[in-house]
Amino acid sequence: MVKLERCKFASKRLSFYLDGQLSDKGRIIVEKHLLKCKYCQKEIILLRNARLIVRSFSTVKFPPRLDKHFSSILHKKTN
């Protein structure tokens, strides 16, 4: 398999693009670049999949006993 040549464009813009952080002009530049750059096409799939997986992590249940501890400490404290 031929190794794709590294593209410096990726590190600067792809996460911003994925998260909707670019201006319209910036977004269009990225989209035009993606049409022709195989390296960045591969990169954006990787980033997008990583984001999807990390975001699929559930919220951890809050430990109820912490409420009691916190309340008791707070009422002894003066700020």
């Binding site: 990726a10 590190s11 600067k12 792809l14 996460s15 911003f16 693009y17 994925l18 998260d19 909707g20 952080q21 989209e31 993606l34 096409q41 591969k42 990169e43 954006i44 799939i45 990787l46 980033l47 997008r48 999949n49 990583a50 984001r51 999807l52 997986i53 990390v54 975001r55 699929s56 992590f57 559930s58 919220t59 951890v60 249940k61 809050f62 430990p63 006993r65 912490l66 409420d67 501890h69 916190f70 309340s71 400490i73 707070l74 009422h75 404290k77 700020n79």
Partner: protein, 215 residues
């Protein structure tokens, strides 16, 4: 973030109104705990650090007004305490399989997968393995990348808020997030021999902007 009403709660707390601070705690305790838990990957220590975060904030309420965004200030405190804990206690990461989880948005998530696969041990094992691998991939990141990944992708904070929390430029947040996702993505890509259902082509990647409007 509901900055205005949160700001009022903390202003009242600063004037000695403990009930106001308790209301703030009730509102955000879950978010802060989730953050510390994912940061430390240790349930008991996350409890301890969450409590310390709120108590420390309470005793230093005079410093709050400088920042303006209440929750961001709490994330800063929690993040610093987590980093100190990791440095000083030489924590060995626990795998989070037995930590109680809850469904946050009603959608199918890993908990559902685990719950629904009780009668199918082969799925349970695969899912538990997946949870462990994801946590391992996150834990393997350098701390400055891990913190940004947790804040942006798990806590749903914007680039601007994360920049404020960590005292960085938004551009730095974006480039560190890029590197963090890339490392995690590479590690996890090895797990799959086949593409999960939701894997899309690069042309669909921009559609995901709409799926997660929080960032």
């Amino acid at each position: 973030m509901d900055n205005r009403s949160d700001d009022i709660l903390l202003q009242k707390a600063r004037e000695g109104d403990k009930a106001a601070f308790e209301a703030f705690y009730q509102k955000y305790k879950g978010q802060i705990f989730n953050f510390t838990y994912r940061f430390l990957n240790n349930y008991e220590l996350a409890e301890e650090i969450t409590q310390e975060t709120f108590i420390s904030a309470y005793t230093h309420l005079d410093k709050y007004s400088e920042m303006g965004k209440p929750l961001a200030w709490f994330y800063t405190i929690a993040g610093n305490l987590c980093k100190n804990a990791l440095k000083s206690k030489n924590i060995r990461a626990e795998v989070s399989l037995d930590a109680p989880l809850k469904d946050s948005d009603g959608q199918l998530n890993m908990l559902d997968v685990l719950e629904n696969s009780k009668d199918r041990p082969e799925i349970t094992i695969r899912s538990k393995e997946l949870v462990r691998k994801i946590q391992e991939a996150i834990d393997s990141l350098p701390i400055e990348y891990k913190e940004i990944l947790l804040l942006c992708d798990i806590q749903g904070q914007s680039y601007q808020d994360v920049a404020q929390i960590l005292g960085l430029k938004s551009a730095t947040v974006g480039s560190r997030l890029f590197r963090a996702r890339k490392r995690v993505g590479k590690k996890l890509a090895l797990l799959y021999k086949e593409k999960p259902k939701k894997w899309l082509s690069w042309k669909d990647a921009n559609l995901l902007q709409k799926d997660f409007p929080s960032t």
